[in-house]
């Protein structure tokens, strides 16, 4: 019999990959200008009460994405281009 394991997100390991999880702590109100139509689309999607968490989550994801880009750029600056064939094979693997 295979080992029984939970498969749901947010399992016993606190394994949810909510990008906000690592930024736990006090919150701060910030003012940012965004296109009105974007703000309206987000409110329509998640509701008024979830607006802040939606924006915060998007900010955390964007920060991680930019950090990934910086990590890759830093590597390529020091060691040359990353093997495109290897990267392509990994992309296929990760797309499964």
């Amino acid at each position: 019999m295979p080992m029984r394991t939970p498969r749901s997100k947010g399992s016993i390991f606190g394994t949810d990959d909510d990008p906000l999880a690592r930024f736990a702590g006090p919150v701060q109100t910030v003012a940012a200008s965004v296109p009105r139509t974007l703000a309206e689309a987000i409110r329509a999607k998640v509701g008024k009460r979830e607006f802040s968490s939606f924006v915060a989550r998007a900010m955390a994801r964007e920060l991680a994405d930019q950090n990934r880009a910086a990590y890759v750029a830093s590597y390529e600056e020091d060691h040359g281009p990353i093997d495109p064939e290897l990267t392509a094979r990994l992309e296929v693997l990760f797309a499964r």
Partner: protein, 141 residues
């Protein structure tokens, strides 16, 4: 799909392993979450002055799953199945099992495969051409 890094992957990154750079690049392109169990951080992190590359990598990580009591029991059960005592490896594998489909990035294929086989979890190795320190294990769905 999620990518779980074990300690070998963090060390490989610290040594500028080309495989790790390719993994981060491909994960970015495919928008795949990368996770580093908190136990792996504890095993590898010794401060920003000696681990600048790791600090850089950790900024790219989507989550650092912690190990609570229930999770610890799950890891303990997995170690019992496999008759081993490698808590960090057990934690990596238990998380990957819980979140499958997942990809484990490790330099200790033997230990990770032993844990997976003990739990009867089908998996496959990604052919890394043997050049890099890190190798990838794919955990079957």
């Amino acid at each position: 799909m999620r990518i779980i890094l074990d300690s070998g992957a963090i060390i490989a990154s610290e040594r500028n392993d080309p495989m790790m750079a390719a993994i981060v690049k491909a994960a970015r392109k495919n928008r795949i979450p990368i996770l580093v169990p908190a136990t792996v951080v504890a095993e590898t992190w010794r401060g920003p002055s000696t681990h600048t590359r790791s600090a850089h990598l950790f900024g790219s990580i989507d989550g650092f799953p912690d190990l609570n009591e229930q999770g610890a029991r799950q890891v303990g059960a997995l170690l019992a199945f496999s008759n081993t005592a490698a808590i960090v490896d057990g934690n990596v594998v238990a998380i990957a099992i819980a979140l499958r489909p997942a990809t484990i990035v490790t330099s200790d294929v033997h230990e990770i495969e032993h844990l997976l086989k003990s739990a009867k979890i089908p998996h496959a190795l990604f052919d890394a051409h043997g050049a890099a320190a890190a190798q990838i294990i794919i955990i079957g769905i």
